[in-house]
């Protein structure tokens, strides 16, 4: 459940956040603010999915199975 809540954050940030940041100034890393906002969420999405991957038990299960198969 926690994992899905984490994964929902980018949806909220990108879909619901954009109306509030629809402006040019201040520039973020040289980009218009609204573009910088979207880029920030793209980067955050990667980080969030990395955390999800770490926490997700199903990845460990598959790994454990794989090890058992090995001679």
């Amino acid at each position: 459940m926690l994992l899905r809540v984490l994964a929902a954050l980018p949806f909220i940030g990108i879909l619901l956040g954009v109306p509030f940041v629809n402006r040019v100034e201040p520039l973020v890393l040289g980009m218009p603010f609204v573009l910088g906002w979207i880029v920030a969420w793209v980067v955050l999405s990667s980080i969030i999915m990395a955390i999800v991957y770490r926490l997700d038990a199903s990845n460990r299960h598959v790994a454990a199975d794989g090890e058992e198969v090995r001679p």
Partner: protein
Amino acid sequence: MSALVIIAAITLFALFLGVRAKHGHDMSLEQWTVGGRSFGTAFVFLLMAGEIYTTFTFLGGSGFAYGKGAPVYYILAYGTLAYILSYWMLPPIWRYAKQHRLVSQPHFFSRKYESPALGTLVALVGVAALIPYLVLQLKGLGIIVATASYGAISSTAAIWIGAAVVTVYVIVSGVRGSAWNSVVKDLLILAIVLFLGIYLPLHYYGGLGEMFHAIDAARPGFLTFPAKGSSVTWFQSTVLLTALGFFMWPHTFGSIFTARDERIFRRNAMVLPLYQLILLFVFFVGFAATLKVPGLKGGDIDLSLFRLSLQTFDPWFVGVIGAAGILTALVPGSMILTSASTLLANDVYRGMVNRNATDATVANLARILVPVVALVAVAFTLHGGETIVALLLMGYSFVTQLFPAVICSLFPRNRATKQGAFCGIVAGVAVVAITTTMHLTIGQLMPFLPDALKDVNIGFVALAVNIVVFIIVSAMTQSGRVEHTHASAH
């Protein structure tokens, strides 16, 4: 002349690599269509990322930034959300496909819902969406070669040559050819796009911030979403809709089946969003062009990247850019071609005409259909005119109609019925066809809505109609044993 040599070299190299990809594999149906389900993280990654870097993004992404400004940001957003969804959505699809040895997207539908008729319908919808997409790649190819060769090769000749190259390597190697070529494509495009996106703003404006300040001063409002039209509501609805439709393209869906194990998708879900950021540099090129090569209108906005490159670089470098552009057309083109032929052979022929056809027959038929599909696409490219633009707009909305049926089928107890799925898809596709051909918008259909809602992507109407029909028909056709759960059936 040097540009021409480079373009010719990369085309031959793509042909060589594509044909060589067959090496050491007997091309059975499963090998040809899904690479024997043996691809590791890197290949699956590239096949899925291949969706992002097509001629549409290379020419269209920069052209969109050049012509429309802020609305281009949506391209960056929808893929990210689609990759997040993929973490949970793709592994169960893959498991089912492996268990039932599926080779195509309609195959998935016909097994899940135990209905070859549904499979055939999905195949027809898929082909209707894929052909315009292939036409778009060929059109882009024509533009790129004609421009980068300084007119030495006509657009028509380029389209014929390009179509011939993909046809040959798809017949020989199927999806393996696409996989190997996407390695070269992605490396080349990565280098070129990064270079152009950093160099052009520096060279012409002195830096990224300076460039955006200059654009904002010259064209106020260009860098933010406008109040009407491509507004924030348009952005939200379009991003959500395209994120849902992302993996519903038959060739993208098919590339799920190529994976060796399911963790590949989860791993890719963390890297693919970052990989998308390269698109940012494509936008920068388009923005750099707005003030430097102004005046391109209509379809010509897609030329902005090349116009600016022509006036900035030596011919040999324009050749290198052209070569990268050719690969952005050839690789997705080959995936589409493999997919469309498989759909026709496996799901239309085997699904409807001859249910007892063997894998070997289907594999042969699929190969025979490759040049046929390619020829149809070339004909459309050269003589399509306006119709093809309309078809193309419909493509994405068409495949999005498959989303509800896929999601329902992933639940452990799927209450949806084949009749429900069938009618829902037909209804959704019909609404898309009507609204697109008549150029309707939500504002025209429902003028009483507040302004903000008028910009909601019209695709949502089709999806809503689809879901309603899907639920009602499924509820009506439930089998007796779930009688008592009618009320909550969906």
